[in-house]
């Protein structure tokens, strides 16, 4: 039977007023519970009846999960803080314009008013084969419909595909990795802090998830250390429709300059693999190099080593190269250099 559009399945709705109650509910219902923040990812799944949770935990009433506060020169951002708030917050714009730029370019203004930063990093893959409810690897099956000779896979992965070729769609995720952020996850009475990079998982590790979040877990906050505050930042997103779309590829970079020399750098691209793809080899290669055309050319070649395009997405290879070059040269609107 085809999916029934716009008809919500029945579920038990919980709207806890504080984190403790939310954790209690999640602990009680385990894998039956669905955590909803802004609902931007959730409602697609539910209205299409692809996901049919028994319990939905709406976090919307938990005010303690909202807001941005100073944390020793860095910032702590509540997971339920909207993307509009993140994009417009004076502290974010002053210290981490990279994150403000990334948040500001997510989807549309209406969506940014509702969508949360926690939801943006935790959202599921946007592969349409998967979202259509087909029994692919990511849905627990044994095939990737996007990686066949006849698939429409223009938006899919060029790096680290392991059976599944879906990509991570988040714009804020690469920015947070480039800022060495940490994600605070609570579960019952326990709390663990996960580096942003380790928050995301590829299909080789867990083919049915994009993050380390397990049933019972609640992402409560994102902490950004002062390390990259006030340094040079770069964010650029390439998408089909400039007004409203997921990234074909985006890039986030933080650079610490000593004069004209790059003394330290973080560079992450997204939309190219199931987890934000940190360019470790590029980072290592350009440390100590001048921020010039030659370095950019060298980095661009290095960035795409190991890329394996699918039938329709080979264009992502020159796109990644171009973005890496532009990031190093600081050419985009959002460059702070």
């Amino acid at each position: 039977m085809p999916p029934i559009r716009d008809v919500m399945p029945a579920f038990e709705l919980f709207q806890p007023a504080n984190v403790g109650d939310a954790l209690g509910i999640l602990d009680r219902h385990g894998a039956d519970a669905w955590v909803m923040a802004g609902g931007m990812d959730t409602f697609d799944w539910l209205k299409d009846r692809i996901k049919k949770p028994k319990v939905v935990v709406d976090l919307g009433n938990i005010s303690e999960l909202r807001g941005i506060k100073d944390a020793a020169g860095g910032l702590e951002i509540g997971a339920l803080t909207t993307l509009t708030t993140v994009a417009n917050d004076p502290l974010v714009k002053e210290r981490f314009p990279l994150l403000a730029a990334a948040a500001l370019i997510v989807a549309s203004p209406q969506i940014r008013n509702q969508a949360t930063v926690g939801g943006n990093v935790s959202q599921d893959a946007r592969c349409w084969y998967y979202r259509a409810g087909w029994p692919c690897y990511r849905a627990g099956g044994n095939i990737c419909y996007a990686d066949t000779p006849t698939s429409i896979n223009r938006e899919h992965a060029i790096f680290n595909a392991d059976r599944c070729v879906a990509v991570n769609p988040s714009d804020t995720a690469p920015a947070l990795i480039a800022l060495d952020a940490e994600f605070v996850i609570k579960r019952g009475s326990a709390e663990r802090v996960v580096p942003a990079r380790e928050f995301f998982v590829g299909p080789g590790i867990d083919i049915t998830k994009l993050t380390v979040l397990q049933p019972g877990d609640l992402l409560t906050a994102i902490r950004i250390p002062a390390t990259w505050a006030g340094k040079e930042h770069y964010f650029e997103k390439v998408r089909d429709r400039q007004v409203w779309d997921f990234a074909l590829v985006n890039i986030a970079a933080s650079l610490n300059m000593s004069g004209t020399t790059i003394s330290d750098v973080r560079m992450v691209v997204n939309g190219v693999s199931a987890e934000p793809y940190r360019l470790d080899a590029v980072e290592a290669a350009i440390k100590g190099k001048p921020r010039d055309k030659a370095t950019a050319e060298m980095a661009a070649e290095l960035a795409v080593q190991g890329a394996v395009p699918l039938r329709h997405n080979a264009y992502k290879i020159p796109l990644v190269k171009a973005l890496v070059k532009r990031a190093i040269r600081g050419e985009a609107e959002w460059a702070t250099s």
Partner: protein, 274 residues
């Protein structure tokens, strides 16, 4: 059957098999461990009979021309065994650790180990056919008397004399048969599953088979895989049992003593090298 396998609805609206229920892994694991406990307990408290020492003394006196140590497994055969054991354990751990919650990029290691297993088995078939005594490992109706005697001994009765096995005791041969059946299925299905993942060895082609055939392939692979969980538990258990250690030592060092040879084997069915 509905609970033993997972089904899904294909894009064309058909119900297709996906894979076995992972509960079967736990069933195989628990079943293997229960067998181990049951057999261990039985052996501890039963009247299990060994051959009378005087019978073996007499055989030793009769066959003084035999060397003190007799080669049971040549170097090549032992190497095959240990390579196969390594690949089989790698296959089982890479397949089932993620199911019990140990997450890692297992697919690469799994198919690499699968290739090693396949290559070692192919080598073994050639080696066993042209170098070893091919028929010595197989079981057939002729082994029923031997089976009956072993059962009687296990139940505490004294059964002197023949029939004794040739080179391989009946338990070895039955185990080998089970491994051959499960191994051929798991290798055959594993090879075609290489067309579903990126290996660089074959061009990926998920449309090699229809959905139904793929479903059966995955289910067969899974069933044989969990079957090997039980088989490997049993194998390691018997290899470590005190009364079987002489077999295990032979798989490490290659030889058994003259007394072990005469106690456990029929010299007329397995003629030792002198």
């Amino acid at each position: 059957m509905g609970n033993l396998v997972s089904w899904a609805r294909s894009p064309w609206g058909e119900s297709v098999l996906i894979h076995i229920s992972w509960d079967l892994f736990w069933a195989a694991l628990v079943g293997g461990l229960l067998f181990l406990l049951a057999h261990g307990g039985y052996m501890l408290f039963s009247q299990h009979q060994k051959r009378d020492a005087s019978e073996v003394d007499r055989l030793e006196a009769e066959r003084k021309g035999l060397p003190a140590n007799i080669t049971r497994h040549g170097f090549v055969a032992r190497m095959f065994h240990w390579v196969m054991a390594f690949s089989m354990l790698t296959l089982l751990f890479t397949a089932f650790l993620p199911i019990v919650g140990v997450k890692f990029a297992w697919v690469y290691w799994h198919w690499m180990a699968g290739i090693l297993l396949t290559a070692s088995v192919m080598f073994h078939i050639v080696h066993a056919t042209f170098v070893l005594d091919f028929w010595s490992i197989w079981v057939g109706p002729k082994d029923i008397p031997e089976f009956k005697n072993e059962m009687m001994r296990d139940m505490g009765q004294e059964i002197p004399g023949t029939p004794k096995p040739g080179k391989y005791p009946l338990g070895n041969r039955l185990y080998h048969l089970a491994v051959v059946v499960a191994g051929m299925f798991v290798i055959g299905t594993g090879i075609v599953m290489m067309w579903r993942v990126r290996t660089g060895l074959v061009e990926r082609n998920p449309y090699l088979f229809a959905d139904t055939t793929w479903g059966l392939t995955y289910v067969t692979h899974g069933l044989m895989g969990v079957g090997f969980v039980g088989l490997v538990i049993a194998h390691i258990y018997f290899a470590l049992r005190p009364e079987k250690l002489w077999v295990t030592k032979a798989m490490i060092f290659g030889t058994i003593t003259r007394r072990e040879y005469l106690e456990h084997h029929d010299p007329d069915r397995w003629v030792a090298d002198k």
